[in-house]
Amino acid sequence: MCIAIPAEVLEIKDGNIAVVDYGDLKQEVRIDLVDVEVGEYVLVHVGFAIQKLSRDEALQTLQVFKEVYEAMEE
């Protein structure tokens, strides 16, 4: 029930609607639940953006792993 997929915000329209791109696939989604700007990334669930995604490299899985792993080595 919780499929959510990342998408880039391409355009913001009236009425809490944004056009996003999932990867060569565009769709209008509702952005009632988030405050986003064009160029930002969001997670989309049942046609609604439910959160902004951080683009910070440090937050990628491998980075997190390295931090956790190094913390262990210490």
């Binding site: 919780c2 499929i3 997929i5 060569d24 696939l25 769709q27 209008e28």
Partner: protein, 332 residues
């Protein structure tokens, strides 16, 4: 017991209905390959050649979708089944069942689309039938085509040999996701295009380039269903490399969005082949030289055993199973 939707979606449930009811004809073979084989078509020896014979009814909705329409599918679906037996498509029949009130202009568009596809195939519609049913007795239109082809040495779907290489002639999932996203309610419009096309040209090139042991078109039930049927009928295991599967980016995106496995949906212009390993590269380049084969890829190999195993990109393994029922878009 009642027929249910899963009986119509290919796969295991359908096979059961087939096995227990629909193939129980004593008169099921005219001398060559008959109904008992459940291959893409039948083969009837005639003089010193073989007639290939096949049929399919086409019920696709919407009638017109990005990249094609019910007319183009009706011709390609049957011509491709002939090609899957190694047969050159020669003649098709066309039986339409039409609902009262159906728009004649739409019918004209369907007919001209069929005609265009026929031209591409090099085949003709030589005989036909039309039934009109009262409003409500059928939903719009259904088109059945049967086809006759000619082949010297038929190719089966059951001919995989250990050591063979599995080739797919292009990207997977395009048709199924094009049709699904074109339906109302997802607002995805015409972004994904169906692959519906006649493959005989491509198949002919491939057959000239090397030894093809088995062929099947991954239509209803998708690649998952086709490859499982091939493996099971051939008594072998097929191992597929997840990372080698050619899937378009927008098909991949749509499949995540809709919770649909792209391997489980229909393709209408693709071939899955088992090819002698030595010939794999030459067959691959022959296919790639055809306009409908540009994205062809080697995606797996045949080993001893049974089932179809996916070697996942994380280094894991799982089975690829024929889907149960038609995939429904979902959010979990």
């Amino acid at each position: 017991m009642k027929v249910n939707m899963m009986h119509g979606a290919g796969g295991a449930v359908f096979a059961e209905l087939l096995g227990q009811t629909l193939t129980r004809y004593k008169n099921n073979n005219a001398g060559g390959i008959g109904l008992e084989s459940l291959d893409d078509g039948a083969v009837i020896p005639f003089e010193d050649k073989n007639i290939v014979f096949t049929t399919d009814s086409h019920v696709v909705r919407p009638l017109f979708f990005p990249g094609g329409d019910i007319g183009r599918i009706s011709v390609c679906g049957t011509a491709n089944d002939l090609a899957m037996m190694g047969g050159r498509p020669v003649a098709l029949s066309c039986a339409m069942i039409i609902e009262e009130g159906f728009d004649i202009e739409v019918l004209e568009k369907i007919v001209s689309s069929m005609d265009e596809a026929l031209g591409e195939c090099g085949a003709s519609i030589v005989t036909g039938d039309t039934k009109v049913l009262e409003k409500g007795a059928i939903d719009g239109i259904v088109i059945n085509t049967a086809g006759i082809g000619i082949v010297e040495k038929p190719v089966r779907d059951s001919g995989l040999l250990v050591g063979d290489v599995i080739i797919v002639s292009g990207t997977i999932g395009d048709h199924g996701l094009a049709v699904m996203t074109a339906r109302e309610g997802f607002d995805l419009g015409e972004q994904i295009m169906s692959d519906v096309a006649p493959v005989w040209g491509l198949v002919e090139k491939a057959m000239n380039a090397g030894e093809i042991h088995a062929m099947k078109d991954p239509t209803r039930g998708g690649f998952s269903n086709a490859i499982n049927e091939m493996a099971e009928k051939s008594g072998v295991q097929v191992r597929i490399e997840e990372e080698a599967l050619p899937i378009r980016q927008n098909v991949r995106s749509a499949s995540e969005l809709l919770g649909i496995n792209p391997l489980d949906v229909a393709n209408e212009g693709k071939v899955v082949m088992g090819v002698r390993a030595e010939d794999a590269e030459s067959v691959l380049s022959a296919i790639r030289s055809h306009k409908y084969g540009k994205d062809a890829a080697i995606i797996g190999r045949v080993v001893e055993g049974k089932s179809v195993v996916m070697e996942t990109s994380i280094g894991g393994e799982r089975f690829i199973e024929a889907p149960v029922g038609d995939p429904v878009p979902r959010v979990c």
